[in-house]
Amino acid sequence: MQSTRSTFENLRKDFPILQRTVRDNKRLVYLDNASTTQKPNQVIDSISDYYRNYNSNIHRAVYALAEEATEAYEKTRDKIATFINVKDRQEIIFVRGTTEAINLVAYAWGRSHIKEGDIIVTTEYEHHSNIVPWQLLTKEKGAKLEYIGMDDDGQLILDDLDKYLATGKVKLVTFSLMSNVLGTITDADKIIKKCKAAGVLTLIDAAQAVPHMKVDLEKLECDFFAFSGHKMLGPTGIGVLWVRKSVLETMNPFHGGGDMIREVHKYEATWNDLPYKFEAGTPNIADVVGFGAAIDYLTKIGMDNVREHEVELTKYAIEKLSEVKGIHIYGTKDISKRGGVISFNFADVHPHDVAQIVDGEGIAVRSGHHCAQVLMERLNVAATSRVSFYIYNTKEDIDALVNSLNKVAKVFKL
């Protein structure tokens, strides 16, 4: 591997969108990577190439195109298995994204395993997609949803977990490996160890983790694991649900339809092998192929290098932002415990107004509740501004952000 610094400087040219300008010829500074990332030519072209050369439905047909399409589709499954270190490709299910993955678990596992009085435990810093499905499920079943609290440093209070586990009623503990608001990296090993000791299953929302650091499922030992392609250079519309085989075998089908069946008779049907039992209907073939190209791209860079690059940016950003009078940063300042996501507030200026003014300078920053209203309530704020980094961001991007914040200060007379 060549020098890391030059790798990251060079790769910007792979991203055509970074060459464009916005708002009266301003350089685009894209800092909303926790929401979705930009795509390199390698990914964009792999999708066009699929449609131009071997588009076909998969699995069932015998003709040449179908053979090529099926091979490319299934090859991505293998790439994913390698990327997150999974031995058994049958455990990998393609879904639209993390949201569908978690809902699939809530329906296909939850509805047959959760009963009245059971407890599902989540955390105060979850994304809505790891809260609402469990609200729906627990309401339907007369079960309870409980929360692991968060301290003021943005760390989970694991005593809460111990308390719930002690009831003997917990059936599932579900948490994000990295908060999409605070960037906190959850101590998954500790949580999973406690859960395993109590015979409780664990689900990891890895939407923010897989794109930004090396993840090894052999070591993690969770039972469900979900992430989205579009947050890691891949196309929109594709994501992954991984489920441990022994758990997957206890799950009912989710969607009924083509490809997930073995035999259909008028009044009953039998199911296809794993993972196809959970992939009903024509899948998002082109984007699975594109996702494969994204994984190739990240593999070539190396996930440890990705993490290192982001640590450097995050350190720099926290330093620079802290110098701006009136900026309050949420979460821990211990870089080893956080990813490249920084939420802040700027004096009494509403984050929307911050976002709008910096947008005028070409800087794309997110404002709002970030689909984490429970966390907003916990932080006692209506909203925050958020910047989040990826491989193509530079220190210049952060300097531009800080400059634009000075403009906010001027407008709002801070």
Binding site: H352, D353, I357, G360, H369, A382, A383, K407, V411, F412
Partner: protein, 157 residues
Amino acid sequence: MSGNADIYHEMIVDYSRNPTNYETEDQRKLEDSFFKNTDVIFHDSNPLCGDSIDIGLKIDDNKVTDIKFSGKGCAICMACSSVLTEITKGKSLDDVRKIEKNDILSELGLEQLQAVRIKCALLSLKVLKSALYTYLAKHLDDSQDVDKLKEDAASLY
């Protein structure tokens, strides 16, 4: 599109810091809170950004004799809510029904606001119209009329 910061002229910044006809959460807890003494209150929020507005009305003889809002929102939302309450106060219900989005936007020079921010600007108008149809539904027999008002509110943005 011109520079986004242009939107934030003095008036908007001022309103955002000092909204008119506004009650804070703390004030609402007091014994003599306006919101404890209204003829109708309506609440709505913007699912995209979390802005959240309550409007309370006192109505007498088919007139809005008093109005206040409370809640959280960006500068655009706070300024527009302030202007809206100013416009509304003292108007007959019929005239309140006739308030249109441009009455608010033009007052603050926000006609060119982009789609996603329009929702910030008009949330309070939506809440006001909803408050009105809630009131009328109780006090009016003409359900068709109320439905029209409801549609009106729904189609704002």
